[in-house]
């Protein structure tokens, strides 16, 4: 049989298009390759899975599932996926059940996102639940529609999803509307050209030249879709406030970074200059006060360099999820104020009368920025440790299959009557407590009766004036466990996960001997979140206001 050159070109184009677009065959090869990797090097697969998760890549879920489930990494991955999946599904159920406030229903979502990636199959139900909720949250719904389409553009429901997302009224969020329009156009283009038939059956009877043209058009269109989706899904940083809302796992780092920025730059250089500047504004500054002001603002490391150092610290610690330079208006304004102050060094020396008002304005902006950061740090998530929480935890564990098989002779729960808050995201605290309670119940279940469990809370004042909240999970099992085993993650039954979660919150875990009634207590230690932080910072805020005035 003679070979047809045009057919050969067509075959080549089709092959290239399919290969470059990562079609089903390529996906299958990728999956096989991943599976092989996970079997042979589960640790490496786990690292890759974590990296994809860190980049918010939609392939993270598959990568987590692909980690060899027999390996320790795989067991942790599966456990976390399962825990997170429960939360994701619960959120969807609550939305579908029509809870009054979509925000309340979604409150658990950041905790789940911090635990493990979401199953891409849940994007569409979540988008629809947000759309159908009264009142609807259409912007968020659109984002989950887009995630769904990105995760599997070939899904049987993709076309329905495109129709649905196209119908959303996104007038409140032009940015989201633009993303949706771009995606819908890409899908329309794909439908018009890409699916023309890169299959032999559909190619029959079509002139070869037309097929080549179609193949090229398909290739270009699919490449455009790939580029568009890559652009849409490229990890984009957000403001610090939004990142802290979306990523509770960042809270300790954000708190630390904000504390450093406020202490080293906004307090010791900007704040310390306030009185001297006020004297300058009044025209009453002494030479010493002028020198002090100059030293604070222009002495030592230039302000801009110090600011840049702090920004880089934020970027190193928080990664691409936060974009303070472009997406955080407060940081942008603060950067401008810092730059303005630095530019004023010369003018202040030459013509103070003209430069002082500009300096006062920039200084006031930075004091307001400091105030805003104080509020942000104070708002970071708190959870109330009360009997309601403890009972909920014990009840949920007892409703599980294995723990539910253990008949407890006594469950004792006690929390202080006064409100006790800790700076830990609720989902994380529940996760940690459930692991401890589950471990205790299963342990007493292996021993003869009486089988008793107690969960109680104590609060102690430290010599620093701080207060420590200790949550004790006590049981009657003589099985021993050591704090070292927990910390080094030698302990199974979820306690390794507990240790990892606690490290994020500057908390600690210890094992204490029994008191006669109980064989031992596993104790969690947290710093108590003291007072209403928003109000507690009012004196600082008022002071900043006075200076600005």
């Amino acid at each position: 049989m003679r070979s047809n050159p045009l057919a050969a070109v067509l075959a080549l184009v089709v092959a290239l298009v399919i290969a470059s677009c990562g079609g089903p065959a390529s996906d299958a090869r990728d999956r096989d390759r991943d599976a092989t990797t996970s079997r042979t090097t589960s640790a490496a697969a786990w690292q890759r899975a974590l990296a994809l998760w860190g980049e918010r890549d939609v392939r993270a879920y598959a990568a987590w599932r692909a980690v060899d489930p027999v390996s320790p990494e795989g067991r942790e991955a599966q456990r976390r996926l399962d825990d997170a999946d429960t939360i994701y599904r619960s959120v969807i159920s609550r939305l579908r059940a029509g809870e009054a406030d979509a925000e309340a229903s979604l409150a658990a979502l950041p905790g789940a996102l911090a635990l493990a990636p979401i199953d891409p199959r849940l994007y569409l139900p979540l988008a629809r639940a947000l759309r159908d909720h009264q009142p609807p949250d259409l912007v968020r719904a659109a984002k989950y529609y887009l995630r769904f389409l990105a995760s599997d553009p070939d899904d049987a429901e993709a076309e329905a999803a495109v129709r649905e997302v196209r119908a959303l009224d996104l007038s409140s969020s032009p940015e989201t509307a633009t993303s949706v329009r771009a995606t819908v156009r890409a899908f329309d283009a794909a439908r018009r050209s890409g699916t023309l038939a890169l299959t032999p059956a559909r190619a029959e009877g079509v002139p070869p030249a037309a097929l080549v043209a179609s193949g090229i058009a398909a290739g270009l269109a699919l490449a455009a879709i790939g580029a568009l989706l890559a652009a849409l899904l490229r990890p984009r940083g957000s403001s610090l406030a939004r990142a802290s809302e979306a990523s509770p796992e960042l809270h300790p780092a954000i708190t630390y970074l904000v504390g450093c920025l406020r202490h080293e730059l906004l307090k010791h250089r900007i704040g310390a200059a306030s009185d001297a500047l006020a004297a300058l504004v009044r025209g009453e500054a002494t030479p010493q006060q002028r020198a002090f002001l100059h030293g604070r603002l222009f002495g030592g490391e230039p302000l801009l360099a110090a600011w840049e150092g702090h920004l880089r610290a934020f970027e190193r610690a928080l990664g691409p999820r936060v974009d303070l330079r472009r997406r955080d208006r407060s940081f942008r304004d603060a950067a401008r104020a810092i730059a303005a102050i630095q530019r004023l060094e010369g003018p202040l020396a030459r013509d103070p009368g003209a430069a002082v008002p500009d300096l006062a304005r920039a200084h006031a902006k930075l004091r307001a920025f400091d105030r805003e950061l104080a509020r942000l740090a104070a708002r970071l998530v708190r959870t109330r440790v009360d009997e309601i929480l403890l009972r909920e935890v014990v009840s949920e564990v007892q409703s599980e299959y294995s723990a539910g098989m253990v008949a407890l002779d006594e469950v004792r729960i006690h929390a202080p009557s006064e409100p006790v808050d800790v700076e830990v995201f609720r989902v994380d605290l529940v996760l940690v407590l459930k692991n401890l309670v589950r471990n205790a119940i299963l342990a007493v279940g292996r021993d003869p009766a009486p089988r008793r469990l107690a969960v109680d809370v104590s609060v102690d004042v430290e010599a620093t004036g701080e207060e420590m909240v200790r949550i004790h999970v006590r049981d009657t099992s003589p099985e021993t466990i050591t704090a070292d085993a927990i910390r080094e993650r030698r302990a199974d039954r979820g306690l390794g996960l507990v240790s990892a979660a606690l490290a994020r919150y500057d908390a600690a875990i210890s094992v204490e001997p029994g008191d006669g009634e109980f064989a031992k207590a596993v104790t969690l230690r947290f710093f108590r979140a003291l007072g209403d932080a928003d109000n507690d910072n009012e004196s600082a805020l008022a002071s900043a206001e006075r200076e600005a005035a």
Binding site: T464, R525, L530, N535, S543
Partner: protein, 153 residues
């Protein structure tokens, strides 16, 4: 002419003392100490009417800190010495004040720190005459230093 009152500044650097000399020097004679030991020595030698205390001492070596790193690590941080050291540095001012109180020095102490009100109450319960101002505000610091314990907010 009224004799100046004596203000002992306790900090790990020099910023508080510099600020105090500039903005409080008209009313106070300023001395500075950089650790609990040097503060005790100055108090024993010259006494002081009031104390201005920094909270964070992150420029002091571990051996110069009040508090045992190992004991703190064991009691609060699951054996993690790095976190324990950071904690001692971050909260050192309160611990230094505790050391001074233990030696019988009861002067009014003012921190420049935006403590939550509950924590300030705790510090007063532990250490008596304690106040705090949220920022380097000379008028507020001056008022806090001169306020009597009963008038503290």
């Amino acid at each position: 002419m009224t004799e100046k009152r004596r203000l002992l500044v306790i900090e790990d650097g020099h910023e508080y003392a510099e600020f105090a000399r500039l903005f409080l020097g008209d009313v106070y004679e300023i001395e500075a100490a950089h650790s609990a030991d040097s503060a005790l020595a100055l108090l024993d030698a010259h006494g002081a009417d009031v104390l201005l205390v920094d909270l964070r001492f992150d420029r002091v070596a571990p051996e110069g800190l009040v508090g045992d790193v190992d004991e703190t690590a064991r009691r609060l941080f699951g054996g993690d010495r790095a976190r324990a050291l950071r904690h001692l540095q971050d909260q050192q001012g309160a611990l230094v004040l505790g050391a001074l109180r233990a030696k019988g020095h009861r002067q009014r102490a003012v921190f420049v720190h935006d403590f939550p009100s509950r924590r300030l109450e705790n510090l007063r319960t532990l250490y008596g005459d304690v106040d705090a101002v949220a920022s380097f505000d000379a008028a507020a610091i001056r008022a806090a230093l001169s306020r009597s314990q009963r008038a503290a907010p």
